[in-house]
């Protein structure tokens, strides 16, 4: 992974376990979720009708359900049972900051 693609998103303490946060990096909306200490990052706009995933429900299998029309995406890889995939981003914490690979 080219290190120059890592972009600072926020401080980790802004995203405690169980919380979510919408950030904007390079004009791109990214929804961040902290599920039991693991941070996931997914493009905020659903590939179906652009519903905001930051407002979605997360099921026990770790899938986010779009609040507009119910499409579900695995937060780990963006996969969906339909031929559509949400974009997910790698995250890392370094020097007290949370970075996204975009």
């Amino acid at each position: 992974m080219d290190p120059q693609h890592w972009i600072e998103a926020c401080r980790p303490e802004e995203l405690p376990p169980g919380s979510r946060k919408l950030v904007k990096v390079n004009n791109l909306e990214v929804a961040l979720f902290n599920l039991e200490g693991v941070i996931y990052a997914i493009k905020n706009r659903c590939p179906h009708r652009s519903g905001p995933l930051i407002r979605g429900f997360i099921d026990r299998a770790g899938r986010i359900k779009c609040p507009m029309h119910g499409w579900r995406f695995d937060l780990r890889d963006g996969s969906n049972e339909r031929p559509a995939r949400a974009t997910v981003y790698q995250v890392k914490v370094e020097n007290g900051l949370l970075y996204l690979c975009v």
Binding site: H48, P52, R55, P67, G70, R82
Partner: protein
């Protein structure tokens, strides 16, 4: 609700909508056709359709050989939901435009829906729930029937009736409709089904038994689902607009005045949660054109809802000429 304020909002939002024309007009390049259909509905209800013939002809130009449309205008694989929305806007627009190419396009669309229905009455579209998908060709056929379009008339009536029965048969005992994958809360789908698919029969020819009861139960369920602040489905702007509009037409046709307070609360919430220009998907979110079209449509329908003649608002669904 002060109608002068509503008029001013409509004027301002319509000006914004026109200012954003490059984002929705097919005359400026390929577009998302679901957004295009939303925009054409605004033109219809703002009574400006005759000024936009080129947009309607551009929609005919991107109709696929099978009579349907694709979600994106430059694509060629038809899907049911967007085809029904486009077909509906064409047949309603052509009442005013009376253009031969639109007339032919509507006939091709009718054939498309006759060819894509399943034996049990449903239509399917991988992007939407079957119930929701089915409601849209039924809605298109409602208007085909209301306007007396005669192309393949007998087949249309049969297909329409099968679609209506498929929907009624799946209503839950509590009055709502649910879909595990797309609409577990039931709110949006219930709002769609009663306004788009079912209630029209009561003003066209009362052909299917059980429609009145089904609509009344659905409307009652919608009313129960409204939050105390006036919104529906967790402050979902789209779904609140759907529910508010649905109750306008359904309660008017049923002659039920109990919905008025609920509609008012919904409308107030929608206005209170408007951005400086347009609407977003949830309060505080940035404006998008599709939601702005829905917002304008809601305001325009509310104006008609306030008229004394109960059919004035029904006209904005196309169920009476």
């Amino acid at each position: 609700m002060n109608l002068e304020k509503i008029d001013q909002l409509i004027k301002d939002e319509y000006a914004f909508f026109l200012q954003e024309r490059n984002g929705w007009s097919l005359t400026t390049g390929p577009q998302d056709l679901e957004l295009v259909a939303h925009a054409l509905r605004v033109l219809l209800h703002a009574r400006t359709t005759p000024d936009f013939l080129a947009d309607y002809l551009a929609l005919v130009d991107c109709q696929n050989a099978d009579g349907g449309w694709s979600p994106f205008s430059a694509d060629q694989e038809s899907t049911v939901w967007v085809s029904a929305f486009c077909g509906l806007m064409l047949i309603r627009g052509n009442r005013l435009l009376k253009h031969q190419r639109l007339t032919q396009s509507v006939k091709k669309a009718i054939d498309y829906f006759l060819n894509t229905q399943y034996q049990d009455g449903r239509w399917a579209d991988s992007r939407w729930a079957d119930l929701d998908t089915t409601s849209h060709p039924v809605s298109f056929f409602n208007v085909v029937r209301a306007l007396g379009e005669t192309h393949n008339w007998g087949d249309v009536r049969r297909a329409w009736e099968q679609g209506v029965r498929f929907i009624i048969d799946q209503q839950s005992a509590d009055g709502g409709w649910y879909d595990h994958d797309f609409h577990p809360s039931g709110v949006e789908i219930t709002a769609h089904l009663i306004q788009d698919a079912l209630v029209a029969d009561l003003v066209i020819d009362n052909r299917v038994s059980g429609v009145r009861e089904s609509c009344a139960k659905g409307a009652a369920r919608l009313s129960e689902w409204q939050a105390t602040d006036g919104s529906w489905d967790g402050e979902n702007v789209d779904h609140t607009m759907d529910c508010t509009r649905s109750l306008m037409v359904v309660t008017r046709i049923l002659g039920d005045r109990r919905g008025e307070d609920i509609i008012m609360r919904g409308l107030r919430w929608i206005i209170d949660n408007k951005n400086a220009q347009g609407w977003g998907d949830f309060p505080g979110m940035e404006t998008n054109l599709e939601r702005t079209c829905d917002g304008l449509d809601t305001l325009l329908k509310y104006k008609a809802y306030r008229n004394e003649n109960p059919l004035d608002v029904v006209k904005l669904w196309g169920y009476v000429p």
